[in-house]
Amino acid sequence: MIAPLEMYLAIGAVLFASGAFCVATRRNAVMILMGVELILNSANVNLVAFNRFMPGGMDGQLFAIFVIIMAASEAAVALAIILNIYNNLKTIDVDEADSLKG
């Protein structure tokens, strides 16, 4: 069975909207990171769906693989930064880490 392309695009749109909402409203740095992961996943769903419905090559899936690689390294570095902030400030509220604010 092949669901219509619009179905996948709608799922991607919902994932993107939830991720954007999560990034915009949360103050906990780990939650913001989860929102970013949701946004990256929505992009991946769209890429793979377009790759399936517009035949001729694997470009969409390869782009999705590179997005996954980027998401993995981004999560590792971001969590290291969050741990550092926690060790220094004893909080991961992003509003508290404002010592560089002018």
């Binding site: 069975m1 392309l5 619009e6 996948y8 695009l9 709608a10 799922i11 991607g12 749109a13 919902v14 994932l15 993107f16 909207a17 939830s18 991720g19 954007a20 909402f21 999560c22 915009a24 409203t25 949360r26 103050r27 906990n28 780990v30 939650m31 990171l33 989860m34 929102g35 992961e37 949701l38 996943n41 991946n44 769903v45 793979v48 769906a49 790759n51 399936r52 419905f53 517009m54 035949p55 694997m58 899936q61 390869l62 693989i65 590179f66 996954i68 690689i69 980027m70 993995a72 390294s73 981004e74 999560a75 590792a76 570095v77 969590l79 290291a80 969050i82 741990l83 550092n84 926690y86």
Partner: protein, 166 residues
């Protein structure tokens, strides 16, 4: 019969993805959000399988569920004292953010449903061989560059997260 079963499975995966993503956005507890994210990632892996992207489905489970989610849970555990009060995450600017993300959602849905996409799916089938050939052929430069990126991320994360030894 088989078609109906496939349809039910597809809609189950789609509903799992969508509702757990919304739960991630709306829940107030970090641990709940992390476990909802687990279901989102599994649902997306199922959608990849339905799009006959078998390699990506496996990679999604291995990397996102096995790697990134465990990393996120480590982050949650390491940065919180384990008390219910601390595990809540405050929210700010909820109303404007809700407005903007609902507008974005409407825009994306309008684009998705009003455009007449060319909808002639290809033959499908296993993709691993094609991905391997493309990675070592046309895409060999980004492939090698991504190995450098991963090495840099590994070293950078280890350097940032280690304790100072005096």
């Amino acid at each position: 019969m088989e078609q109906t079963l496939l349809k039910i499975t597809f809609y189950a995966f789609a509903a799992m993805t969508v509702f757990s993503a919304i739960a991630v956005a709306l829940t107030r507890r970090v641990v709940y959000a992390a476990f909802s994210l687990l279901f989102t990632f599994f649902g997306v892996a199922g959608l990849y399988a339905f799009l006959s992207a078998d390699f990506l489905a496996a990679a999604q489970v291995l990397i996102y569920v096995g790697g990134i989610l465990v990393l996120l849970l480590f982050g949650v555990m390491l940065t919180h004292r384990i008390t219910p009060m601390e595990l809540k995450a405050g929210s700010i600017q909820v109303v404007p953010a809700a407005l903007v993300s609902l507008l974005l959602l409407g825009l994306l849905l309008a684009v998705a449903f009003r455009t007449s996409w060319p909808t002639s799916p290809g033959p499908g089938g296993p993709t691993t061989e094609g991905i391997g050939r493309a990675l070592l052929g046309e895409y060999v430069l980004p492939f090698e560059l991504s190995s450098i990126l991963l090495l840099a991320a590994l070293i950078g994360a280890a350097m940032l997260a280690r304790r100072e030894v005096r």
